[in-house]
Each structure stands twice: as C-alpha cells, then as structure tokens.
Amino acid sequence: MKVLRDVSASTSLLWLLSGVAVVALFLCDTVTPWGVADGFPYIAVVLLSLWLPSARDTWAVTGVASVALVAGLVLSPSSVPSRAIVNRSLALLALWATAFVVNKGRWNLRVFELAVEGLPHAVLIVDAKGTISLANRQVRSVFGYEPRELIGRRVETLVPAELRGEHPRYRESFHADPVVRPMGAGRDLYALRKSGEGVPVEIGLTPLGVGPGLDVLCTVIDITERKRAERAIEVQAEELETLVSVISHDLKEPLRAVESFSRLVEERAAERLLDKERDFLRRVVAAAGRMRDLLDDIVSLSRARKSRLDAEWLEGETLVADALGRLSHEVEDRLARVVVANDLPRIRVDRTWATEAIYNLLSNALKFTEGEEPPDIEVAGYASGNGDVREVGFVVRDRGPGVSAESRERIFDMFQRAHPRSIEGTGAGLAIVKAVAERYGGRVAVAPRPGGGSEFIVAFSAPLVEEETDR
C-alpha cells in the first residue's frame, strides 16, 4: 500500500475500465452462448470500484451491473430458465454484498489514512527488508524530508551514522519477537534529519500482521521541546539547591553574632539579672544554637546530594568502626550496648559519605531509647535479591519507641521529626542517609524490630558489591 494517492487522473481511467468491463460482460452474456457464469463475473467490476472515490460510485456501478445481469437473464441465448433465475438471483445477492463490503473497506481505509495523516507525529511503515513503504506528512517536520522522498528508501537513512551498522540487527531482533513496544526503552534515541543534524526522538513500534515478512508501523515523536523543558527543570533545581546552600552559609555569620553576644551578656551580667531574665537569655542562646545546627544540617544535606563521590572497596567493619569511633563518648556516657555482627558486606563507596550515613543511624539509635533503659544496638549486614534488584547494605537496630506505620516514609524527608521535641536533633540525619543511599542507586527503610524498637536499613545497589568469587 502506497502513499495516499492522487485521485483525479486514475478515477477517469477506472470509470473507463469499469464501463468497458460491464459492456464486455454484457455482450458475452447476450451475444455468445457462453452464459458468463450467470452474471457472477460482474462482481469483479464492483471490486474494482474500491478505487473509485466514494460509496455512491460503488452503488452506481453495482446498480448498472445489476441491470446488465437481469437483462442478461432475459436476453441470454443459453439460459435454462429455472436454473438461470436461481443462479442470477444469487449472483445479484453476491453483487450487492460485495458492494457493501467494498464500501466498508473504503471507509476503513479512509479512517486509517486520516488517522495517520492527522497524527502530530511522524508515522512510517517499514517492511521486513527495512524499506520504507509509507510516510505521513509529519515526516517533513520531524525529519525534514517530503514523504515521497522517503518511500522506497531504507529506514537506515534516518539512523545516525554511528548506529547505522547496528540497526539492521535491532530490526531483526524486533522481528524475532514482534510485540507492540517503545523502541530502545530507557535510552536516549536520536534520528538523523535530512540536514544532517540529530533530533532526539521517542519511537513506538507496532507489528502489522503476523509471520516473518511483516511490516512494522513506527511512530516517531520529536522530543526536543520535552528535553529542553526537562533540562530547564534540572537547572532550576540545581540553582535552588545552590541558593539554599549559599543562604545557609551566609546566615551563619549574623547568627554567630547573636549567639556569641548573648553568651557574653550571660557571662557578664548574670548577677545583675533576675531569674526570669536569665532564663530569657538562656533561651535566646539555646535557640541560636538550634538555628546553627539546622543551618549546618542544610549545608550537610546539600553536600550529601551534590558533592563529588569517590569510590573505593571498603570492608563494612571499617565503616562501622569509623562511625562508632566518632560516637565513643556518647556510647560511654549512655552505657550503650553495641553488638556488631560479622556478616557486614564489602562495598565500593565513598568512605566519608558511607561512614556519615552509618554514623547518623547509630547516632539516632543512641538517642532513641524507651524510658531509662540504656541503648541496646545491633549492627548487621543486609542483603536482598528479589528478582532483578540486588541490594546490599547495613541494618541498625535500636530499642527506641519505634516508628509508627504512617511515619515510615515521612521520617526520611528533610527535617521531618516523628518524635517529641525533648530528643535533640534537627531531623536532617535520616535525610542525609537517604541522600547518600540514593546516590548509589539504593534506598533506606525502617521496620519494627522484633522485641521492640526499630531497624533501619541503608542499602546500596548491587553492582557496587563484590561477588564472592572475585575475592
């Protein structure tokens, strides 16, 4: 099937042909003794009318053929009357049934053509050998070619030069498993315009029909605008991140003045103040301190998301030991019991940030206890291999008040606190853990610990994990 056709010249030709056919058949029927199969051949003329422009034309042809058929009944020299009447009636029926089907067919064809031309995307039909057999008018805007320039050419014309060699193989693999699907899922695809420049595209593939020689319908969408919008959003997000970071840094300066001078007043004027006034001053200093912690956390979180990450193979034990080292005072002060399992994984990460993540989890575990009980903490390895997703990391278990089901997602968001204000902390610790994990394609999660408390999982995605056999 070709490009949507030019109508005018061929229509006159078709009418001529149809007319000649009808006359020829009529003459055979009435003049010769052959009987012309009781008029069935007129069906061919009706079928021919598929290429005439409208349903009315088909009805016209069918009407004329019907008249000729009935006239033949009367005038044909060879007919056996009874049988001829039955046969000719059947032929008449077949004629009109065919006309009906022809009109339906023409209608479907028209709908298809309008749909293909009406799409805001380029549509191509490519046969099994890779030749383009149909192109709609949008190929002009997407590829820069006129539709007729593409008919008969190989589809590789539209593939960037560096991928052209591979492309026939991709086509073969599609034919091996022809299923409606987007092309190159997850990859950035580029097509080659007539001018030689590349255009980013999204391509959908639909097999037409069945069997090895099938054609493929390709929808090609120019996604230049979409990519530009995506990039603009990315840029905006980066700028916002930088803004937040700069503001936080700059705010620390006046904050230093607030905190320090309040402290100085506290020191020098304590005796001259009433208890209540001393208390006010104490609150000023405390609030300034909290603000400073908050700003530090914002800067820390920003860096966790953006700073350059090194990577080296590290034993889990090393990271945990580093983190515990920084917390040795707290562990002692709170008389905490910390058990480190021996199934810690070996992973390839940035040492500073991985340690920071574990440090934050341990710091929380030390802070959150039920009542007066000393912290009871466990650190172990974590691995999960369900389906395609392999992840490996650490789990830190505490005996704190636990995390309610509604808060389980929320607590990893920036500055969300799921616990009372009596426990210090700005709520950025878990956000930092999440940021670090996600930079390695991993995730964080919390679940209840058997026997009370919570277990926090920080997992990194598996390509960073050394296989046992490589050791």
Binding site: H249, K252, P254, R256, E259, F261, R263
Partner: protein, 147 residues
C-alpha cells in the same frame, strides 16, 4: 623549648561584630594581644609600613587577615606582604568564614602560615584563641621573639 615571649598581633577584619568577638575571645590571654585593628586591606599595609596615619604604629609579630574586605582582599594584602623584603617574614594567618577549597589553596600558595575558619560559637572562639597562643608562643618560634 618555650620562648615565653609575647606576640603582638595586627588584625584586619571589616565586620565590626566579628572584631568585637575576636577581641573578646583573645581577651583572656596573657601572652597574645592585639596591637592594631584595621577594617580594610590598605590600612593593614599602611599599618605594617608605618606610613601615613600609622606613623607611630607598633610593629606586630603576627598578622591575622580576613579574606573578604572592601578594597583590597586579604589575599591581595598577603601577596603584598610577601613581596616586601621588610615584611616577608611576618607570619600571616587567614581567619575567614569561607570554607572553600580554592581559598585554602590560594592562601597557602601566597604564603599564609595558617588558615582558620571562624568558629560558630563564643566558646569555640575562645578555645581557638587559647590554642593559637599556645602554638605560637610555646610550640613554634617566631622571628624576633624574646627567648
């Protein structure tokens, strides 16, 4: 090993609040004191050269510079100091809010002997002053100290 000497310091800092805090932090020290406080780079150089309004300025043993100052930046002052034969041996420490890697490298490249980020709290500032005094009066010798 202790030189038991005193060190007189020139401070160049444009932020009035920080000047006050730094003076407060160093106030409790016995062997380190400020003999001059200026608010911009040109004044710092004039002070060191004992020129113009600073004709009778004391000669400091140590210079503490902020980076961000109006007119000449701390790094430009540092460069000038290290260029002048009579001032070259002055130890210069950068005391600043900036934590940027580039500023640290540039400071040391220009000849700073120390780079300190301004601490956030008064207590930390005082601790900083104490450490500073101990290091530069006990641990390290300085040119022209009285020992």
């Amino acid at each position: 090993m202790s030189n038991g000497g005193r060190i007189d310091i020139l401070l160049a800092e444009d932020n009035e609040d920080d000047v006050l805090l730094i003076e407060e932090a160093f106030a409790g020290l016995e062997r380190a004191r400020f003999v001059g406080v200026v608010n911009d780079g040109r004044s710092a150089l004039a002070f060191l050269r004992q020129s113009g309004a600073y004709r009778n300025a004391a000669r400091p043993h140590f210079v503490i510079l902020d980076i961000k100052m109006p007119g000449m930046t701390g790094l430009e002052v540092l460069r000038e100091i290290k260029r002048e034969p009579s001032l070259r041996q002055l130890p210069v420490a950068i005391l600043t809010t900036s934590n940027r890697e580039e500023d640290v490298s540039e400071s040391f490249a220009e000849g700073a002997c120390s780079y300190i980020c301004k601490p956030a709290s008064l207590d930390a500032f005082r601790e900083l002053a104490r450490c500073f005094e101990r290091y530069w009066t006990e641990t390290s010798r300085l040119p022209g100290d009285e020992s």
